[in-house]
Amino acid sequence: MKKINLLLLFSLFVGLTACEKTKIDENTGAFDKGIFVVNEGQFMHGNASLSFTDEKLSQVENDIYKSVNHVDLGDQAQSIGFAGDNAYIVVTGSNKIEVTKANTMEKVVTIASGLTNPRYFETISSSTALVSCWGDPSVTTDDYLAIVNTNSNEVTGQIPVDLGPEKMVKNTDYLFVAHQGAWGTNHKVSVYDLILKQITNVITVGDRPNSMVIKGNFLWVLCGGEPSWTGNETAGQLYKIDINNNFNVVATYDFAVTEHPKFLNLDGDNLYYYLNQKVYKMPVTATTLPTGEFLTYSGNAYNMETYKGKLYITDALDYQQEGTLTGFDLSNGQVIGTQRVGLIPGDLGFHFN
């Protein structure tokens, strides 16, 4: 009897696999107003995804790219940018950008050639965008900005730059590229002149510039410094650079050697940054770094961004499960909501057309 039961049991398992289900949410809705969350996914597991939520985080829709297009997004989605009616999802591991209609997420085209380890996307005109690219990360001299024609959605050229270009910000005259250093380390900000269409300056800043904002005529650059595990720990630094005066460094704010701040953001006249589970608020007019925190975050931020009076923090938890997105009201520091998003949530795309 025992034998027969076991045989039945065994054959049951054969039956079980025949009816594997694939869950596809047909109710994809529109994505015209809200926040896109770029979920990086696990390294080499090909499970990057996109989530979409409203600014109050009252509801979330996960895996929207796959729901609409019925294909996976790829490996290590790094960031999202917008140009015209399209959203540009930069997928580092897969060396590509998925171009979709921003309001529906319907795929337009894949830009697959000319991109080696692309990181961030920034439009510089109605028909052009630049994408920071590491090239081969084991080679320190092949880093570049890819020039993307956003009408034809093709890479039309390359601008060689210093090691490890990452985040970019722009005003009407210049685009600034922070060189965090990819797999190594760097301490530079490249200046791309939007009129001359070339790199005109390279500003030396502190170690590992990780985030930048522009307020008026000043560029603020937050440098994380070398972390202790490098064996060569250096302090984090905040740089204030005068854009109109030859990119002179007008002020530097030094952190303690063991302090490595990140995620510099601007809301109104205040800068916000993150350091050791705390968010700090600093008026742009301040002459010293703030001493007390603005709010405390209980987890570990994987990314932090502000948008119109609100602050959003993503948390990758143990990097092996769906992370969270938590929103705070900057007027009072209170939590406005939290949602479970995808695996390793990082970049946020604010889309309110």
């Binding site: 054959s11 080499m44 597991h45 490996d75 290590q76 080679v139 972390p227 499960q321 695996l343």
Partner: protein, 605 residues
């Protein structure tokens, strides 16, 4: 389609059971247990012997998969591969080569695709804790490889050549000679493959997956006199592999690995006493080229010197005592590891008492290490024969695993304050063995604490910590049935099935990358000069997130092989692997090949 084949297979088995007359001949499975040899010390566990006349050109994963229901993981065909026994990790299975544990001191594992199973006298898989006998890492079980010395005079030569899909060529040569006093065996296996298999369902190929490897060894033995022998054993493996892409991420990297195992020793044997002395040197080297066309690479080396002595006394009243001591000097060095040396010393004692029905055994081991405090380990075991056809067995053991050199010293991240992992394991088993039918059942539970896991400390900084406590419990069942339908038709059928539930004690969630169900079926038929086998392997779904929300689907593999023996020298085989062209992955985004073919020519002198 697969259902038809499977039901066909079930029916054969079912009908045969119905017609089975009672037999009285006692034949405890096919494992030969010699007095005072190491095998005897594994009683009270279910030992499975892996034997395959085609082992010469097989890879170790092929062989393990065909003969056992183990969960295996492979980063693409021919790439890094490991097995998981009883729901433990790949570093919790110790590979034991001629009595020496050979898992890497750098990463704690043996890459099964760089360990050729060709030319061994015996290969066993023993599930359950074995730290007293094999030290660190023998938590889920051990896979034992033995090169025996054969002093009966004679010359043997065997050559196997294989041509397979994806431009794969394998050649395995084995030469043995014994003069009665002096024994020598030379063996080699060479493999080369373009390995550019298409990823089923995607318009891509495994374009960076070529590999090439050679594995060879010399075994020599000398009978000094009737009680004393000396031996030398070696295994050298050099591999050069590109690293397969994933579905969504191209690769341009290459991994070169070198493993060298050298062992010399001697054995002194009298009627009531045996002493065995071994001295071994193990070397491992990994060179990883992130971009295969560039010379830049990262390098790591590991070296171990081992001296081991075992003495066994047979005492009055069916008592046996084994005393062992072992000294290891481990040296790790590389681009990401500064040179570190770890000295370990172990002292262990085993006492066994056997009478007509009952075998009882107690084991105790104390380890001393220059880097860690290792807990006292031990085991209590029994085997009770109800009759000559039925027996119960059971054991309880405490086992450990040392942190690897990478865990301790890798820069950045290595954590020199790690403690060894610890586990308590117990199991109960029942065996019924008849002339043509056998049945084995094992229920086990392993509770592991201080498990080492690399976790994110901040955005890009990961560090290993003694993180989790995990419980693994489950059932293993196997049936074997043999029948001679007529003088020319013979049938054999083995079904194995494992269930294990591995959960994190803190969260209650199922551990990711661990299936609950694994099943295996091997049917073989023999008619005159023809041999036919049908192999079926089932692996249940595997969660890929700690929240148990995403998973890799279950898969089934069906393999067929047909062999024709022309005469006592020549034999040809044809195999079809993954007959139904199933899509399957054991690691996310890393598909393994669809249907493929192998042609094997075997020559024996």
């Amino acid at each position: 389609m697969y259902k038809v084949i499977f039901i066909f297979c079930l029916l054969i088995f079912f009908n045969s059971v119905q017609g089975q007359p009672k037999q009285t001949k006692y034949a405890l499975d096919s494992i030969h247990i010699h007095a005072l040899t190491d095998k005897e010390w594994h009683k009270a566990y279910h030992l499975v012997r892996l034997r395959d006349s085609m082992a010469g050109t097989s890879t170790l994963p092929d062989l393990l998969l065909q003969k056992t229901a183990v969960f295996y993981k492979e980063y693409g065909r021919g790439m890094i591969a490991g097995i998981s026994l009883r729901g433990t990790g790949t570093a919790h299975t110790q590979i034991v080569w001629n009595g020496i544990p050979v898992n890497s001191i750098l990463n704690g594992q043996t890459d099964l695709n760089t360990f050729s199973p060709a030319g061994f006298s015996n290969i066993y898989i023993k599930k359950g804790g074995s730290s007293v006998s094999f030290g660190s890492g023998a938590i889920g079980g051990v896979v034992i490889f033995d090169d025996n010395l054969h002093f009966s005079p004679g010359f043997h030569l065997q050559n196997q050549s294989k041509i397979a899909s994806f431009e794969t060529m394998v050649n395995a040569l084995q030469i043995e000679n014994s003069s009665g006093k002096f024994y020598v065996k030379l063996k080699s296996q060479f493999q080369k493959s373009k390995n550019d298999y298409p990823y089923p369902g995607f318009k891509i190929k495994n374009e960076n997956g070529a590999y090439q490897g050679i594995d060879y060894g010399l075994i020599a033995g000398y009978k000094i006199h009737k009680n004393m022998q000396w031996y030398f054993k070696s295994k050298i493996a050099n591999w050069d592999r590109e690293t397969s892409r994933t579905v969504y991420m191209p690769q341009n990297a290459r991994l070169k690995t070198n493993n060298r195992y050298l062992l010399t020793g001697g054995q002194y044997k009298k009627s009531k006493f045996l002493n065995r002395f071994n001295a071994a040197w193990l070397y491992e080297r990994y060179r990883y080229y992130f971009n295969k066309i560039l010379p830049e690479h990262s390098n790591s080396h590991g070296q171990q010197w081992i001296i081991k002595n075992t003495s066994i006394w047979r005492l009055a009243g069916n008592n046996k005592i084994l005393l062992g001591n072992e000294w290891q000097r481990q040296i790790g060095l590389g681009d990401h590891i500064q040179r570190h040396i770890r000295n370990n010393y172990a002292l262990y004692a085993i006492w066994t008492k056997t009478n007509t029905h009952l075998l009882t055994r107690l084991k105790l081991r104390k380890d001393f290490s220059s880097a860690q405090v290792i807990p006292l380990t031990g085991a209590a075991e029994f085997e009770y024969k109800i009759s000559d056809k039925h027996q119960f067995r059971g054991n309880f053991s405490r086992n450990f695993r040392l942190p690897t050199f990478n865990d301790l010293y890798w820069q950045p991240g290595g954590n020199p304050d790690l403690n060894p992992e610890e586990s308590y394991a117990y199991e109960m088993g029942y065996d019924a063995v008849f002339a043509s039918l056998s049945f084995h059942l094992t229920i086990f539970n392993i509770k592991s604490g201080n498990l080492i896991k690399w976790i994110p400390i901040s955005n890009n900084f990961w560090q290993p910590v003694n993180f989790a406590s995990v419980t693994s419990k489950g059932v293993e069942v196997s049936f074997s049935y043999k029948k001679s339908v007529s003088h020319t038709w013979h049938l054999a059928e083995t079904i194995q099935f494992n269930y294990h539930k591995v959960s994190n004690d803190n969260t209650g969630k199922i551990l990711p990358f661990m299936p609950k169900y694994v099943g295996n079926n091997l049917l073989s038929m023999h008619h005159k000069k023809w041999f036919f086998t049908y192999h079926f392997h089932y692996q249940g779904r595997i969660f890929t997130t700690t929240s148990n929300t995403k998973f890799l689907p279950a898969y089934q593999l069906h393999n067929l092989s047909l062999t024709f023996k022309t005469n006592r020298h020549w034999q040809v085989s044809f195999r079809i692997k993954n007959v139904l062209n199933a899509y399957y992955e054991t690691i996310p985004s890393r598909p393994l090949p669809g249907r493929s073919y192998e042609f094997i020519l075997n020559f024996k002198l």
